[in-house]
Point group: C2
Chain length 595, copies 2
């Protein structure tokens, strides 16, 4: 945060910054024709790319990074003297994508202007550069070229493909159409297709370029600058723009420009717009944005689920709360569809006020980087086992550190082949299950830090609020759904139980008992609400907002046609089962509802 | 909603639609020079305007409406055969701004192209139209011309000035610089100055216009169309755009255009952009947007409070939750500043997913129209008296319809000259106070429907969430702050009480008592949480999420250095005071904290 606040207003916020030279660029040329998805072919293709780290002997430590719209192969610096890369905070020795451990490949995309075949390349039919005659390409074509490069490097299977923004759209193609060739995909700030709003911005940008009178001659600098100005607005949140420009609103920099510079934000846009024309080709801009606009995995969750269905890859999806160019709801669509197709996925919506640019900023990298590192390390092994007990809000009434209920819940889960843990915290219960057998496990948790801890440990968790419908899970999709010590913290109890019983063929719920005799004695003696009843909080600050007895819970079940198949009354202080309600500080209920 | 969903995608969403002819246009010409705020003068000014309804004999029923960027004087149709006006849903016989009751004046703004002096007018120095040589104008100049018109019509004091978007910015100038000339101002979807983001969009639009090679010749149609396309994106929420275009995403209309039309949203933008150039002048667009960009009431609440301080006008401020061009936070800044300067104001943030355009759409008019009508009818009289008792959530434990606590709270308020009611519901308590004396009253309420009911009744209320800091109220600003039957529904109890004690010199809190003997008996007999304890809800659906006894509350006060000056124990069933905690179903505490 400080970083941004103190920064020169002209610094940063390039979607992908990059220098003008690429001294570490390698190239590979493939002389067999590339048939294009929209028709036609390129007779040969050259790929410019950079690599970092070493490919190991097993050739199984390669990670491919797909760059965003105006990025390039220079994802990170190669040494201390090198120019900064656009994702230096994330990729490098000891970083989240650790180049001491992984062999990182970053290709320039087809259609671009940084060493891979594009509008600036020579059209063999004319001997001149293609210019605006470069054929229409798709992200499928772009990924096909990346695949050729990976084959060329002798890598049968990537550990993962990582992409932010448009790079994340390409990574989705890897995870579906080339699912045998990558173990995981990491999607950052991306979408299954652009929103109408984001599409509209691209269109206005291309209209500015293509209606520039110099477009035909190949140098529509004014139009390209205007398209870039527009892009810059969309990369930042409104809050971030205010932070950057409000204090100097009426004090523009004296930029050399023909554009308006009455306000500081105007001088910034003029500067960034003009600077962009020095390093980017207008035809590449049109070719790539058009490919992005045409990228379309599907409009509905059903369509998307069908599209992703072939995937055997493990997915990590991350969005940023203030990103309005690739809004979190779109990442959630991807997650919904993957869950629908029973493909393993983790999801975190990272709190940030920086907008789409958040994915490139060092102040967010601790979070998305930590999850990525954990995902890369754990996705083909069992989760990191829990060391001892949880330190977690949902703890036993008299012994906050003991999770007696876990053991009893495990008994009730039995031989279920799929388990959903609602309010899974940092994944304690799921870790225990993961160790025992090869079953489908998924957690749902609202708290961002807990979600991140799950993902770092290798537990699949989807961030979500239990007060909202759990639409992403189908009817009867899980053998067993668990709600352990969470019910009392939920506002919409009825909605949650209804969803739970819809999703689970068997449901296991642990509930604290306000009717426990010691609580009642305390209440009578003191005339005050016992803190233990509120799970060791005060009446005024407990997250546990529902106060109930076991009778209350059972009456609820009766009223709502829920069958109680079993109940286990526990005295967690004694660590034993008991046989009367008032002797139990908690109970575990096994429930179902007839469809 | 249906309206929008079913509409032709090409319909609507003009920020202010208007026809090409204005057959009801009247004009007035003022031949004394108008000195401009940024220097220079116009030697004479002509105003084009339309009027609706009749000015009454007392000349006190006039309402001025200031139009938005691309609107004009044709705010409503004059008869059934007339062309639609841009705010027909809001202005007309029997509508919110009832032309059977009010004399409505809608002038075209200075600098525009619809009959009021602007770039298309003849420059007396050259005998040619001003074009881009039209002098720089401000909203102060625009309002000065409106004031001349109002004087010309023989109106000493308007009942109110109403404006949406940029019109609301002009209305702010009326409410401060011409406060003696208007009784009220109604602000819809506006701001004290543009956000950096909104400013940036205007700048990119002007850059497109001014870099168009045809700009110098006076007809930069391409640039103006691009600016307009951009505007259209900003008028709609992303959700509204998806609703409009997603189902036909790849089926564009076959519009006659040189712009791109690959996607349905693209054909829409091309059509709207081109159509705009037929009715709007590029120099007017630049002149007015630049005036809007320069409009600046202040950057901070302190600056704004100072700017609004002279106001003797009553204010109604309304925003829309999905408006990102004039976001609700900016309306809240205006409200904060007015409250800071102790100027009467009501505020409602209307739930809508239509974006900035929401203020022009019939599907929202019931809400903002109802509040406007109530405001216009009541702002110079006492609030509509409450008829009988409240039907409200915060009701007596055993007699939901009785509000015994109101009477006892009124006793405790005593002779306070300023009262803030936190969680005021539909304003029952405030109405009773309003009837008795001339004191400063303000309510805070989260529920939108309750806020609207308050405003319709003429009670000043500011929509807000008691779980968040009440920054807009200063330390010790109110003689008395009331929190009646609300504490138990608040999550952040500590934060709220702390804010309350900061703002009020005396605080009156009514609290339900879970220790009440009948509740305890019920609990012992049934083993279940008594519904009465949860104010007639079940444990699983009550909004009352804090369960406490009077001892709990008193202990809280002790722990937090809060002095209890008085406590009144009530048996609301008997309608009497009692002398022991367990006999009271509720209590009223009078509190203060030493500064």
């Amino acid at each position: 945060m400080t970083e941004i606040e103190n920064a020169d207003i002209f610094a940063g916020s390039d979607e992908c910054r990059s220098g003008t030279d690429l001294p570490f660029l390698q190239t590979a040329t493939f002389s067999d024709p590339l048939a294009l998805e929209l028709g036609g072919a390129l007779s040969s293709v050259t790929v410019g790319y950079e690599t970092y780290g070493e490919l190991n002997a097993a050739r199984d430590n390669a990670v491919l990074i797909a760059h965003a719209l105006t990025g390039d192969s220079h994802v990170a610096k190669h040494n201390d003297e090198d120019e900064p890369g656009w994702w230096d905070c994330f990729v490098g020795p000891g970083k989240a994508v650790d180049t001491n451990r992984y062999f990182v490949i970053c290709p320039n995309c087809l259609g671009g202007c940084r060493g891979t075949t594009g509008p600036g390349s020579t059209n063999p039919a004319t001997g001149e550069p293609y210019g605006s005659a470069f054929p229409d390409i798709t992200f499928g074509d772009i990924v096909a070229v990346q695949k050729r490069l990976v084959d060329h490097l002798g890598i049968a299977r990537l550990r993962a493909v990582i992409g932010g923004s448009m790079g994340g759209q390409q990574a989705q193609i890897w995870g579906t159409d080339y699912t045998d060739s990558t173990g995981g995909v990491v999607l950052v700030a991306t979408s299954p297709r652009l929103t109408s709003q984001s599409l509209a911005f691209d269109i206005v940008g291309r209209n500015a370029i293509q209606s520039d009178p110099n477009f035909a001659a190949g140098a529509p600098a004014t139009g390209l600058a205007i398209a870039r100005m527009l892009g810059h607005i969309t990369y930042l949140s409104s809050e971030a723009m205010n932070r950057k420009f409000e204090s100097t609103r009426n004090a523009p920099r004296d930029v050399e420009t023909d554009f308006e510079k009455l306000f500081s934000v105007g001088s910034y846009l003029a500067y960034k717009g003009q600077k962009f024309t020095e390093r980017f080709d207008a035809n590449s801009y049109c070719a790539i944005t058009l490919a992005m606009d045409r990228f379309d995995m599907g409009a509905t969750v059903e369509q998307l689920a069908e599209r992703y269905a072939p995937s055997k890859t493990r997915w990590l999806v991350m969005s940023f709360t203030s990103d309005w160019l690739f809004p979190p709801t779109q990442s959630q669509q991807i997650v919904d569809a993957l869950v629908h197709s029973q493909i393993p996925v983790s999801y975190c919506n990272i709190q940030s006020d920086c907008g789409h640019d958040a994915f490139l900023l060092p102040n967010n990298v601790e979070r998305y980087g930590g999850m990525t590192a954990g995902f890369l390390a754990n996705f083909d092994t069992n989760p990191t086992a829990t060391d001892g007990e949880e330190t977690h809000d949902h703890t036993s009434i008299f012994h906050p550190q003991r999770r007696l209920d876990y053991e009893r819940i495990l008994d009730q889960i039995g031989d279920a082949q799929s388990v959903l843990d609602l309010g899974c915290g940092t994944g304690g219960l799921l870790c225990r299950l993961e160790g025992t057998s090869d079953i489908r496990l998924c957690g749902v948790e609202r708290d961002e830090a807990s979600v991140q801890e799950c993902i770092r440990r290798g537990v699949d968790v989807v961030q979500g609020d239990l007060n909202e419908p759990l639409d992403r899970f189908g009817d009867g999709e899980f053998d067993c759904v668990v709600l352990s010590r969470t019910l009392q913290a939920v506002f919409d109890v009825r909605g949650l139980l209804s969803e739970m019983l819809r999703i689970g063929r068997r449901c296991v719920v642990s509930v604290p008992n306000f009717g426990y005799h010691k609580l009642q004695e305390q209440f009578r003696q003191t005339g005050r609400m016992p803190e233990a009843a509120l799970l060791h909080h005060k009446w005024y600050d407990t997250p546990n907002i529902r106060v109930l007895t076991l009778s209350d819970f059972e009456a609820f079940c009766t009223e709502h046609a829920i069958t109680i198949d079993k109940r286990v009354l526990l005295d967690s202080e004694q660590g034993s089962e008991v046989d009367r309600d008032e002797l139990a500080d908690m109970a575990i209920f096994v429930l179902h509802r007839e469809a």
